[in-house]
């Protein structure tokens, strides 16, 4: 469970997040949507402290992680993240990408890490790409490797920052399918996305952000059928 309590984030003169409070429960899949520049990604990045909130608190399983004394690295071990632009390590093979962090961070042996990695790569359908370097993969394959890499740390929560936005249209589905499977396993997920159908179908809850404010949150079916705010109606009219 991860809880944000009145978090705000200011970059220079620009207030990107304004007093956002919400709780993401264990096993819940939450989609974060909203126009570009609304602060969705910043919100997500605050959850694993890639961005430090200017004010407010974040709790991971009731432990305050915005505390200065808390080791960010320990927090991040439990929170996986998938980026829009994959950020695979280009000088490592697919298998090394997936086994690196479990070995370095969790101290697993090479064979233990490889066992986990191979299971995960099989799960995302890339067993045959084990020894390939990332630049030999398509965007969809890269993103699936990135998901496997994050999962190899066996995190409690997975964060997805527009995981399909940089993909060619025909590769979106393979990534979303992997995410759907993951949601089916009961993984806690927070997904910043522009894939409204995916949000509608997979998410348990939708957060709608606009201009740094959490304007609406609720059940996806209700939200997409009948958004409460004018701003959300506008947005949905444009994207659907």
């Amino acid at each position: 469970m991860i809880k944000a309590k009145e978090i705000s984030k200011v970059f220079g003169n620009n207030t990107v997040l304004k007093n956002i409070s919400t709780t993401i429960n264990t096993g819940e899949v939450v989609a974060v949507i909203g126009p570009s520049g609304s602060g969705k990604s910043t919100f997500l990045r605050c959850l694993n402290l890639l961005e430090e909130p200017t004010s407010g608190e974040i709790y991971l399983n009731d432990k305050k992680i915005t505390d200065k004394k808390v080791d960010k690295l320990v927090v991040r071990k439990n929170i996986g993240m998938v980026f829009q632009h994959f950020h695979l390590f280009p000088h490592m093979t697919v298998l090394d990408n997936v086994t690196y962090a479990p070995q370095k961070v969790k101290g697993l042996s090479k064979s233990e890490a490889q066992k986990i990695a191979k299971e995960l790569l099989a799960k995302v359908g890339l067993t045959d790409k084990e020894n390939a370097y990332p630049n030999r993969l398509s965007g969809g394959q890269k993103q699936r490797v990135a998901i496997a890499r994050a999962l190899a740390m066996e995190p409690e929560i997975m964060l997805f920052d527009e995981p399909t936005s940089a993909l060619d249209p025909e590769m979106v589905k393979e990534v979303l399918d992997v995410m759907k499977d993951l949601a089916g396993t009961g993984m806690t997920m927070v997904i910043v996305t522009h894939e409204m159908n995916f949000a509608k179908e997979v998410a348990d809850r939708v957060l709608f952000l606009d201009d740094g404010v959490l304007l609406e949150e609720g059940d996806p079916k209700e939200f997409f059928k009948q958004p409460k705010t004018e701003r959300a109606r506008d947005f949905l009219d444009k994207v659907l």
Binding site: R76, F83, H87, F89, P90, H91, V105, Y133, N135, A150
Partner: protein, 219 residues
Amino acid sequence: MNLDFSQIVPYTPFMLKGIWATLEFVIFSIIIGLVLGTLLALCKITKVSFLKWIANAYTSIFRGTPLILQLMIIYYAIPQLTGYDIPIFLSAVLTFGLNSAAYVSEIIRAGIMAVDKGQMEAAEALGVPYRPMMLNIILPQAIKNILPALLNEFITLTKESAIVSTIGYLDLMRRAQIVGADIYRNFEPLLLAGAIYWIMVFILTKIGQAIERRLRQGD
């Protein structure tokens, strides 16, 4: 035209020993330059302004003054100020190592800056601590990009090493001068020395290209 290489034949072993004399301190200098240069580069990219200031000041001083002056200062000033009679070899290694570090730090800094910021974020998001992140993720990518620039620095260092002849270090250059003075013919020993420098740089270039090919296998 009265070139007569037969006269330097007896001196060839003496001159060839200069190859090792030069290589020996160039290798040490390169290692010092690389290690110190990397540390300085890391200081330059931290958020700790004190470290940044030190590293920038260091670079400014060592890039802003002539190498030969630095060599003289280390060789003559250290004994005068501290009473420690610094050996020629140590002066040479120190000067070239410290000087090279200034240049190497700029090259490596540029290399690190050129690595996609997302790489660092990806490593951070996985909980990878700073040291392994730098050593395993960032620096290997940086070094691949800066290898040509780094190789250039090593080549410059190898050639500029001839300056140590001015403090009497028996390197290749100095030996060529000694032979020249001995046989009253300068052109032949200098030409031989020149050829040897060229071969050393040629080999260095080939090694560099081989490393570059190896590092590029991921592309």
